[in-house]
Protein backbone atom coordinates (compact mmCIF):
# COMPACT_ATOMS: atom_id res chain seq x y z
CA UNK A 1 0.00 0.00 0.00
CA UNK A 2 2.69 2.48 1.02
CA UNK A 3 4.82 1.34 -1.89
CA UNK A 4 2.11 2.37 -4.35
CA UNK A 5 2.63 5.96 -3.22
CA UNK A 6 6.22 6.17 -4.41
CA UNK A 7 6.35 3.60 -7.19
CA UNK A 8 4.68 4.51 -10.45
CA UNK A 9 5.09 0.97 -11.71
CA UNK A 10 3.18 -0.47 -8.74
CA UNK A 11 0.50 2.18 -9.18
CA UNK A 12 -0.02 1.31 -12.85
CA UNK A 13 0.03 -2.38 -12.09
CA UNK A 14 -2.79 -1.91 -9.59
CA UNK A 15 -4.98 0.51 -11.57
CA UNK A 16 -4.32 -0.06 -15.28
CA UNK A 17 -1.97 -2.98 -16.01
CA UNK A 18 -2.95 -2.97 -19.70
CA UNK A 19 -0.78 0.10 -20.38
CA UNK A 20 2.40 -1.61 -19.13
CA UNK A 21 4.91 -2.95 -21.67
CA UNK A 22 4.24 -6.53 -22.76
CA UNK A 23 6.99 -8.88 -23.72
CA UNK A 24 5.05 -11.35 -25.84
CA UNK A 25 5.57 -10.69 -29.51
CA UNK A 26 8.85 -8.90 -28.83
CA UNK A 27 10.46 -10.99 -31.56
CA UNK A 28 8.13 -9.29 -34.09
CA UNK A 29 9.43 -5.82 -33.23
CA UNK A 30 12.51 -4.41 -35.02
CA UNK A 31 15.71 -5.03 -33.09
CA UNK A 32 18.24 -2.42 -32.09
CA UNK A 33 21.78 -3.52 -31.45
CA UNK A 34 25.02 -2.16 -29.99
CA UNK A 35 25.25 0.22 -27.05
CA UNK A 36 28.47 1.13 -25.27
CA UNK A 37 29.15 2.96 -22.02
CA UNK A 38 32.48 4.19 -20.71
CA UNK A 39 33.59 6.38 -17.84
CA UNK A 40 35.90 9.38 -17.99
CA UNK A 41 37.32 11.87 -15.51
CA UNK A 42 34.18 13.58 -14.20
CA UNK A 43 31.44 11.49 -15.76
CA UNK A 44 30.27 8.71 -17.98
CA UNK A 45 29.36 8.49 -21.67
CA UNK A 46 26.82 6.21 -23.34
CA UNK A 47 26.51 5.83 -27.10
CA UNK A 48 24.33 3.73 -29.38
CA UNK A 49 24.31 3.03 -33.10
CA UNK A 50 21.22 3.98 -35.14
CA UNK A 51 20.27 0.75 -36.89
CA UNK A 52 17.19 -1.39 -36.22
CA UNK A 53 16.79 -4.67 -38.07
CA UNK A 54 13.99 -7.15 -38.71
CA UNK A 55 15.68 -10.35 -39.77
CA UNK A 56 17.86 -9.37 -42.71
CA UNK A 57 15.95 -6.15 -43.39
CA UNK A 58 17.14 -2.78 -42.09
CA UNK A 59 13.96 -1.53 -40.43
CA UNK A 60 15.23 1.91 -39.47
CA UNK A 61 18.44 3.84 -40.05
CA UNK A 62 18.05 6.57 -37.46
CA UNK A 63 16.53 4.88 -34.41
CA UNK A 64 17.55 6.14 -30.96
CA UNK A 65 18.38 3.60 -28.26
CA UNK A 66 20.05 5.78 -25.63
CA UNK A 67 18.01 8.18 -23.51
CA UNK A 68 18.30 10.38 -20.45
CA UNK A 69 16.62 8.48 -17.60
CA UNK A 70 16.45 11.67 -15.55
CA UNK A 71 18.67 14.70 -15.11
CA UNK A 72 21.75 12.78 -13.92
CA UNK A 73 21.48 9.31 -15.43
CA UNK A 74 21.16 7.64 -18.82
CA UNK A 75 19.70 4.36 -20.01
CA UNK A 76 20.28 2.38 -23.19
CA UNK A 77 18.36 -0.67 -24.34
CA UNK A 78 19.43 -3.16 -26.97
CA UNK A 79 16.87 -5.52 -28.47
CA UNK A 80 13.23 -5.22 -29.51
CA UNK A 81 12.83 -1.50 -30.23
CA UNK A 82 9.16 -1.14 -29.29
CA UNK A 83 9.62 -2.82 -25.93
CA UNK A 84 12.81 -0.88 -25.30
CA UNK A 85 11.14 2.49 -25.85
CA UNK A 86 8.22 1.50 -23.60
CA UNK A 87 10.52 0.32 -20.84
CA UNK A 88 12.53 3.55 -21.01
CA UNK A 89 9.35 5.61 -20.73
CA UNK A 90 8.21 3.53 -17.75
CA UNK A 91 11.59 3.91 -16.07
CA UNK A 92 11.71 7.68 -16.69
CA UNK A 93 8.22 8.08 -15.20
CA UNK A 94 9.14 5.84 -12.27
CA UNK A 95 12.15 8.02 -11.35
CA UNK A 96 10.32 11.30 -11.79
CA UNK A 97 7.29 10.04 -9.87
CA UNK A 98 9.44 9.02 -6.93
CA UNK A 99 11.23 12.36 -6.95
CA UNK A 100 8.00 14.37 -7.00
CA UNK A 101 6.25 12.32 -4.31
CA UNK A 102 9.26 12.16 -1.98
CA UNK A 103 10.53 15.62 -2.95
CA UNK A 104 14.04 14.16 -3.25
CA UNK A 105 15.60 12.09 -6.03
CA UNK A 106 16.55 8.43 -5.56
CA UNK A 107 20.23 7.67 -5.07
CA UNK A 108 22.02 6.25 -8.12
CA UNK A 109 22.09 2.82 -6.46
CA UNK A 110 18.38 3.15 -5.74
CA UNK A 111 17.72 3.85 -9.43
CA UNK A 112 19.87 0.91 -10.50
CA UNK A 113 17.98 -1.37 -8.08
CA UNK A 114 14.65 -0.08 -9.29
CA UNK A 115 15.57 -0.80 -12.92
CA UNK A 116 16.50 -4.31 -11.76
CA UNK A 117 13.02 -4.90 -10.38
CA UNK A 118 11.37 -3.48 -13.52
CA UNK A 119 13.48 -5.87 -15.56
CA UNK A 120 12.50 -8.75 -13.30
CA UNK A 121 8.81 -7.88 -13.53
CA UNK A 122 8.64 -7.17 -17.26
CA UNK A 123 11.53 -8.55 -19.12
CA UNK A 124 12.78 -11.82 -17.73
CA UNK A 125 11.15 -13.84 -20.52
CA UNK A 126 12.32 -11.41 -23.17
CA UNK A 127 15.84 -11.25 -21.83
CA UNK A 128 16.20 -15.01 -21.76
CA UNK A 129 15.77 -14.87 -25.51
CA UNK A 130 18.08 -11.81 -25.44
CA UNK A 131 15.19 -9.75 -26.89
CA UNK A 132 15.87 -6.79 -24.59
CA UNK A 133 18.93 -5.92 -22.52
CA UNK A 134 19.26 -2.63 -20.63
CA UNK A 135 22.36 -0.77 -19.52
CA UNK A 136 22.27 2.05 -17.00
CA UNK A 137 24.84 4.72 -16.15
CA UNK A 138 24.91 7.96 -14.27
CA UNK A 139 26.69 10.49 -12.16
CA UNK A 140 26.83 9.56 -8.48
CA UNK A 141 27.00 12.77 -6.48
CA UNK A 142 27.72 10.98 -3.20
CA UNK A 143 31.11 9.74 -4.38
CA UNK A 144 31.58 12.08 -7.39
CA UNK A 145 32.11 9.43 -10.04
CA UNK A 146 30.35 8.18 -13.14
CA UNK A 147 29.10 4.60 -12.68
CA UNK A 148 27.89 1.92 -15.12
CA UNK A 149 25.46 -0.94 -14.35
CA UNK A 150 24.68 -3.98 -16.49
CA UNK A 151 21.72 -6.37 -16.08
CA UNK A 152 20.87 -9.99 -16.61
CA UNK A 153 17.54 -11.75 -17.14
CA UNK A 154 16.99 -12.30 -13.41
CA UNK A 155 17.06 -8.54 -12.82
CA UNK A 156 20.42 -8.90 -11.11
CA UNK A 157 22.71 -5.99 -11.83
CA UNK A 158 26.43 -5.65 -11.77
CA UNK A 159 28.54 -2.58 -11.56
CA UNK A 160 31.00 -2.49 -14.44
CA UNK A 161 34.35 -0.82 -13.98
CA UNK A 162 35.55 1.40 -16.80
CA UNK A 163 33.33 0.37 -19.70
CA UNK A 164 30.70 -2.06 -20.91
CA UNK A 165 28.78 -2.90 -24.09
CA UNK A 166 25.49 -4.68 -24.79
CA UNK A 167 23.71 -5.94 -27.90
CA UNK A 168 24.64 -8.12 -30.84
CA UNK A 169 27.89 -6.25 -31.55
CA UNK A 170 28.87 -6.08 -27.87
CA UNK A 171 31.76 -8.54 -28.09
CA UNK A 172 33.45 -6.50 -30.84
CA UNK A 173 32.74 -3.21 -29.06
CA UNK A 174 34.19 -4.51 -25.80
CA UNK A 175 37.31 -5.70 -27.59
CA UNK A 176 37.71 -2.26 -29.08
CA UNK A 177 37.12 -0.43 -25.78
CA UNK A 178 39.65 -2.67 -24.09
CA UNK A 179 42.33 -1.15 -26.34
CA UNK A 180 41.18 2.48 -26.51
CA UNK A 181 39.65 3.19 -23.09
CA UNK A 182 41.88 4.35 -20.24
CA UNK A 183 40.87 5.23 -16.70
CA UNK A 184 40.72 8.98 -16.13
CA UNK A 185 40.62 9.92 -19.81
CA UNK A 186 38.99 13.19 -20.86
CA UNK A 187 35.33 13.38 -21.86
CA UNK A 188 36.16 13.99 -25.51
CA UNK A 189 38.61 11.07 -25.60
CA UNK A 190 35.99 8.80 -23.99
CA UNK A 191 33.42 9.88 -26.58
CA UNK A 192 35.93 9.14 -29.35
CA UNK A 193 36.65 5.76 -27.79
CA UNK A 194 32.91 4.94 -27.62
CA UNK A 195 32.39 5.99 -31.25
CA UNK A 196 35.39 3.89 -32.27
CA UNK A 197 33.89 0.89 -30.44
CA UNK A 198 30.59 1.30 -32.28
CA UNK A 199 32.48 1.55 -35.57
CA UNK A 200 34.31 -1.69 -34.79
CA UNK A 201 31.04 -3.38 -33.80
CA UNK A 202 29.42 -2.26 -37.07
CA UNK A 203 32.45 -3.53 -38.96
CA UNK A 204 31.83 -7.12 -37.85
CA UNK A 205 28.15 -7.26 -36.87
CA UNK A 206 25.54 -6.93 -39.61
CA UNK A 207 22.87 -5.71 -37.20
CA UNK A 208 24.90 -2.71 -36.03
CA UNK A 209 25.02 0.42 -38.20
CA UNK A 210 28.23 2.39 -38.67
CA UNK A 211 28.35 6.18 -39.08
CA UNK A 212 26.46 7.10 -42.27
CA UNK A 213 28.39 10.01 -43.75
CA UNK A 214 26.20 10.26 -46.85
CA UNK A 215 23.02 10.74 -44.83
CA UNK A 216 24.78 12.47 -41.94
CA UNK A 217 23.52 9.88 -39.44
CA UNK A 218 25.82 9.47 -36.46
CA UNK A 219 25.60 7.57 -33.16
CA UNK A 220 23.50 9.03 -30.35
CA UNK A 221 25.92 10.11 -27.62
CA UNK A 222 24.89 11.20 -24.11
CA UNK A 223 27.13 12.12 -21.20
CA UNK A 224 26.24 12.32 -17.51
CA UNK A 225 28.42 14.46 -15.29
CA UNK A 226 28.17 16.86 -12.38
CA UNK A 227 26.45 19.26 -14.82
CA UNK A 228 23.74 16.70 -15.56
CA UNK A 229 22.85 14.76 -18.68
CA UNK A 230 23.84 16.22 -22.02
CA UNK A 231 23.12 14.87 -25.47
CA UNK A 232 25.93 15.82 -27.83
CA UNK A 233 24.63 17.80 -30.81
CA UNK A 234 24.94 16.06 -34.19
CA UNK A 235 27.67 18.39 -35.48
CA UNK A 236 29.83 17.66 -32.44
CA UNK A 237 29.39 13.88 -32.88
CA UNK A 238 30.11 14.31 -36.61
CA UNK A 239 33.34 16.17 -35.86
CA UNK A 240 34.57 13.56 -33.36
CA UNK A 241 33.53 10.71 -35.70
CA UNK A 242 35.55 12.27 -38.53
CA UNK A 243 38.57 12.53 -36.24
CA UNK A 244 38.17 8.86 -35.28
CA UNK A 245 37.95 7.81 -38.94
CA UNK A 246 40.99 9.91 -39.90
CA UNK A 247 43.07 8.39 -37.10
CA UNK A 248 42.42 4.83 -38.30
Amino acid sequence: MMHELTSFFDLVRSVDPAVLPRTDGAELSPHGTTIVAADFAGGVVMAGDRRATMGTIIAQRDIEKVFGADEVSVIGIAGAAGLAVELVRLFQTELLHYEKVEQIALSLDGKANRLGSLVRANLSMAMQGMAVVPIFAGWDDTCDVGRIFSYDATGGHYEESGFHAIGSGAAFARGSLKKTHHPGMTAEAAVASAIRALYDAADDDAATGGPDLARQIFPVVLTASVDGVRQLPTDEVARITEQVLEAM
Binding site: L11, V12, V19, H97, K100, Q103
Partner: protein
Protein backbone atom coordinates in the same frame (compact mmCIF):
# COMPACT_ATOMS: atom_id res chain seq x y z
CA UNK B 1 -32.64 6.45 18.18
CA UNK B 2 -31.69 8.93 15.47
CA UNK B 3 -32.41 12.64 15.65
CA UNK B 4 -33.62 14.57 12.63
CA UNK B 5 -31.21 17.19 11.30
CA UNK B 6 -32.28 19.23 8.28
CA UNK B 7 -29.96 18.94 5.22
CA UNK B 8 -29.49 22.73 5.30
CA UNK B 9 -28.29 22.60 8.87
CA UNK B 10 -26.06 19.58 8.19
CA UNK B 11 -24.30 21.21 5.23
CA UNK B 12 -23.85 24.56 6.92
CA UNK B 13 -22.40 22.81 9.99
CA UNK B 14 -19.96 20.93 7.80
CA UNK B 15 -19.01 24.09 5.92
CA UNK B 16 -18.53 25.94 9.18
CA UNK B 17 -16.31 23.12 10.46
CA UNK B 18 -14.09 23.15 7.35
CA UNK B 19 -13.93 26.94 7.14
CA UNK B 20 -12.72 27.25 10.74
CA UNK B 21 -9.93 24.77 10.07
CA UNK B 22 -8.77 26.66 6.99
CA UNK B 23 -9.01 30.21 8.35
CA UNK B 24 -6.66 29.25 11.20
CA UNK B 25 -4.03 28.64 8.53
CA UNK B 26 -1.75 31.06 6.79
CA UNK B 27 -2.06 32.62 3.34
CA UNK B 28 -0.83 31.50 -0.06
CA UNK B 29 -0.83 33.63 -3.20
CA UNK B 30 -0.43 32.34 -6.76
CA UNK B 31 0.10 34.88 -9.52
CA UNK B 32 0.97 35.10 -13.22
CA UNK B 33 3.84 37.31 -14.27
CA UNK B 34 6.11 37.74 -17.29
CA UNK B 35 8.58 35.04 -16.12
CA UNK B 36 5.90 32.47 -15.31
CA UNK B 37 3.55 31.59 -12.47
CA UNK B 38 4.84 32.45 -9.01
CA UNK B 39 3.68 30.78 -5.77
CA UNK B 40 4.25 32.54 -2.44
CA UNK B 41 3.22 30.79 0.77
CA UNK B 42 3.55 31.96 4.36
CA UNK B 43 5.32 28.95 5.77
CA UNK B 44 7.57 28.85 8.81
CA UNK B 45 8.84 25.36 7.92
CA UNK B 46 11.61 25.00 5.33
CA UNK B 47 10.90 21.27 5.00
CA UNK B 48 7.12 20.83 5.04
CA UNK B 49 6.15 22.40 1.74
CA UNK B 50 2.86 24.02 0.87
CA UNK B 51 3.85 24.52 -2.74
CA UNK B 52 4.87 21.61 -4.99
CA UNK B 53 5.48 20.34 -8.45
CA UNK B 54 2.75 18.16 -9.96
CA UNK B 55 3.85 17.88 -13.58
CA UNK B 56 6.02 19.51 -16.24
CA UNK B 57 3.99 22.73 -16.36
CA UNK B 58 1.63 22.27 -13.39
CA UNK B 59 2.13 23.46 -9.83
CA UNK B 60 0.13 22.97 -6.65
CA UNK B 61 -0.39 25.04 -3.50
CA UNK B 62 -2.51 24.33 -0.45
CA UNK B 63 -3.55 25.60 2.95
CA UNK B 64 -5.20 23.77 5.82
CA UNK B 65 -4.36 20.42 7.35
CA UNK B 66 -0.94 19.23 6.25
CA UNK B 67 -1.73 15.51 6.29
CA UNK B 68 -4.82 16.06 4.15
CA UNK B 69 -3.28 18.25 1.46
CA UNK B 70 -0.17 16.07 1.38
CA UNK B 71 -2.29 13.05 0.42
CA UNK B 72 -4.15 15.19 -2.14
CA UNK B 73 -0.81 16.34 -3.56
CA UNK B 74 0.31 12.73 -4.01
CA UNK B 75 -2.98 11.72 -5.61
CA UNK B 76 -2.55 14.68 -8.01
CA UNK B 77 0.92 13.45 -8.99
CA UNK B 78 -0.49 9.97 -9.51
CA UNK B 79 -3.30 11.32 -11.69
CA UNK B 80 -0.89 13.41 -13.77
CA UNK B 81 1.82 10.76 -14.19
CA UNK B 82 -0.72 8.09 -15.07
CA UNK B 83 -2.39 10.31 -17.64
CA UNK B 84 0.92 11.44 -19.15
CA UNK B 85 2.14 7.84 -19.38
CA UNK B 86 -1.09 6.51 -20.87
CA UNK B 87 -1.49 9.33 -23.42
CA UNK B 88 1.18 11.97 -23.81
CA UNK B 89 2.88 14.55 -21.61
CA UNK B 90 0.98 17.35 -23.37
CA UNK B 91 -2.34 15.74 -22.47
CA UNK B 92 -1.93 16.52 -18.78
CA UNK B 93 -3.74 19.79 -18.08
CA UNK B 94 -4.28 21.96 -15.02
CA UNK B 95 -8.02 22.00 -15.75
CA UNK B 96 -8.22 18.20 -15.75
CA UNK B 97 -6.38 18.10 -12.44
CA UNK B 98 -8.58 20.83 -10.91
CA UNK B 99 -11.68 18.87 -11.91
CA UNK B 100 -10.23 15.73 -10.38
CA UNK B 101 -9.62 17.54 -7.09
CA UNK B 102 -13.13 19.03 -7.23
CA UNK B 103 -14.59 15.56 -7.54
CA UNK B 104 -12.61 14.23 -4.57
CA UNK B 105 -13.36 17.20 -2.30
CA UNK B 106 -17.05 17.43 -3.15
CA UNK B 107 -17.53 13.69 -2.64
CA UNK B 108 -15.96 13.90 0.81
CA UNK B 109 -17.98 16.99 1.65
CA UNK B 110 -21.27 15.37 0.64
CA UNK B 111 -20.63 11.99 2.27
CA UNK B 112 -22.09 12.20 5.74
CA UNK B 113 -19.88 9.40 7.00
CA UNK B 114 -16.63 11.28 6.26
CA UNK B 115 -15.19 14.39 7.76
CA UNK B 116 -14.95 17.12 5.10
CA UNK B 117 -11.43 18.06 4.00
CA UNK B 118 -10.09 21.05 5.89
CA UNK B 119 -8.06 22.28 2.94
CA UNK B 120 -8.14 24.75 0.12
CA UNK B 121 -6.10 24.06 -3.02
CA UNK B 122 -4.70 26.01 -5.94
CA UNK B 123 -3.67 24.40 -9.23
CA UNK B 124 -1.74 26.45 -11.78
CA UNK B 125 -0.96 25.55 -15.38
CA UNK B 126 1.86 27.42 -17.08
CA UNK B 127 1.04 28.83 -20.52
CA UNK B 128 3.49 29.85 -23.23
CA UNK B 129 2.23 33.43 -22.84
CA UNK B 130 1.11 35.06 -19.56
CA UNK B 131 -2.39 35.38 -21.06
CA UNK B 132 -2.69 31.59 -21.40
CA UNK B 133 -1.73 30.73 -17.80
CA UNK B 134 -4.49 28.87 -15.97
CA UNK B 135 -5.13 29.46 -12.26
CA UNK B 136 -7.74 27.44 -10.38
CA UNK B 137 -8.74 27.29 -6.75
CA UNK B 138 -10.70 24.41 -5.26
CA UNK B 139 -12.42 24.97 -1.93
CA UNK B 140 -13.18 22.43 0.82
CA UNK B 141 -16.59 21.59 -0.69
CA UNK B 142 -15.22 21.04 -4.20
CA UNK B 143 -16.18 24.44 -5.64
CA UNK B 144 -13.77 25.27 -8.49
CA UNK B 145 -13.03 28.83 -9.55
CA UNK B 146 -10.70 30.09 -12.24
CA UNK B 147 -8.78 33.30 -11.89
CA UNK B 148 -7.05 35.86 -14.05
CA UNK B 149 -3.65 37.11 -12.88
CA UNK B 150 -3.78 36.00 -9.23
CA UNK B 151 -5.59 34.07 -6.53
CA UNK B 152 -5.29 33.72 -2.77
CA UNK B 153 -5.93 30.85 -0.34
CA UNK B 154 -6.21 30.60 3.43
CA UNK B 155 -6.47 33.38 5.95
CA UNK B 156 -7.28 37.07 5.28
CA UNK B 157 -8.31 36.34 1.70
CA UNK B 158 -10.55 39.42 1.48
CA UNK B 159 -7.91 41.99 2.33
CA UNK B 160 -5.17 40.25 0.30
CA UNK B 161 -7.26 39.87 -2.83
CA UNK B 162 -8.10 43.59 -2.72
CA UNK B 163 -4.37 44.26 -2.74
CA UNK B 164 -3.83 41.80 -5.61
CA UNK B 165 -5.98 43.81 -8.02
CA UNK B 166 -2.94 45.98 -8.75
CA UNK B 167 -1.03 43.02 -10.30
CA UNK B 168 -0.66 42.77 -14.09
CA UNK B 169 0.20 39.56 -15.94
CA UNK B 170 3.07 41.27 -17.77
CA UNK B 171 4.78 42.54 -14.60
CA UNK B 172 8.26 41.15 -13.96
CA UNK B 173 8.94 38.51 -11.30
CA UNK B 174 10.75 40.81 -8.88
CA UNK B 175 7.97 43.41 -8.84
CA UNK B 176 5.30 40.72 -8.53
CA UNK B 177 7.04 39.06 -5.59
CA UNK B 178 7.61 42.38 -3.86
CA UNK B 179 4.00 43.49 -4.18
CA UNK B 180 2.66 40.14 -2.99
CA UNK B 181 5.00 40.10 -0.02
CA UNK B 182 3.81 43.56 1.00
CA UNK B 183 0.32 42.05 1.44
CA UNK B 184 1.46 39.06 3.53
CA UNK B 185 2.41 38.87 7.18
CA UNK B 186 5.95 40.27 7.26
CA UNK B 187 6.87 38.25 10.36
CA UNK B 188 6.42 34.84 8.72
CA UNK B 189 9.03 33.28 6.43
CA UNK B 190 7.76 32.61 2.91
CA UNK B 191 8.16 29.65 0.61
CA UNK B 192 8.50 30.74 -3.01
CA UNK B 193 8.40 28.71 -6.22
CA UNK B 194 8.10 29.47 -9.89
CA UNK B 195 6.76 27.69 -12.95
CA UNK B 196 9.42 29.13 -15.22
CA UNK B 197 8.12 30.18 -18.63
CA UNK B 198 11.64 30.46 -20.05
CA UNK B 199 12.91 27.16 -18.65
CA UNK B 200 15.08 25.10 -20.99
CA UNK B 201 14.01 21.94 -19.14
CA UNK B 202 10.78 19.99 -19.61
CA UNK B 203 10.15 20.43 -15.88
CA UNK B 204 9.38 24.11 -15.41
CA UNK B 205 8.84 24.06 -11.63
CA UNK B 206 11.62 25.31 -9.41
CA UNK B 207 11.93 26.65 -5.88
CA UNK B 208 13.31 30.15 -5.45
CA UNK B 209 15.59 31.33 -2.70
CA UNK B 210 14.66 34.93 -2.04
CA UNK B 211 17.79 35.64 -0.03
CA UNK B 212 19.84 34.57 -3.06
CA UNK B 213 17.78 36.99 -5.14
CA UNK B 214 18.73 39.77 -2.73
CA UNK B 215 15.24 40.06 -1.27
CA UNK B 216 15.72 38.13 1.93
CA UNK B 217 14.59 40.92 4.24
CA UNK B 218 11.80 43.26 3.50
Amino acid sequence: MSLYVSPDQLMSDRAEFARKGIAKGRSVVVASCAEGVVFIAENPSPLLHKVSEIYDRIGFAAVGRYAEFESLRISGIQYADLRGYTYDRRDVTARGLANQYARTLSAAFAASSDKPFEVELAVAGLGFEPETDELFTISFDGTVSDHRTACVLGARTESISTGLTGLQVDMDLRTTIASIRSLLDSGTPVEVALLDRHSARTRCFRRLDLSAMGEGES
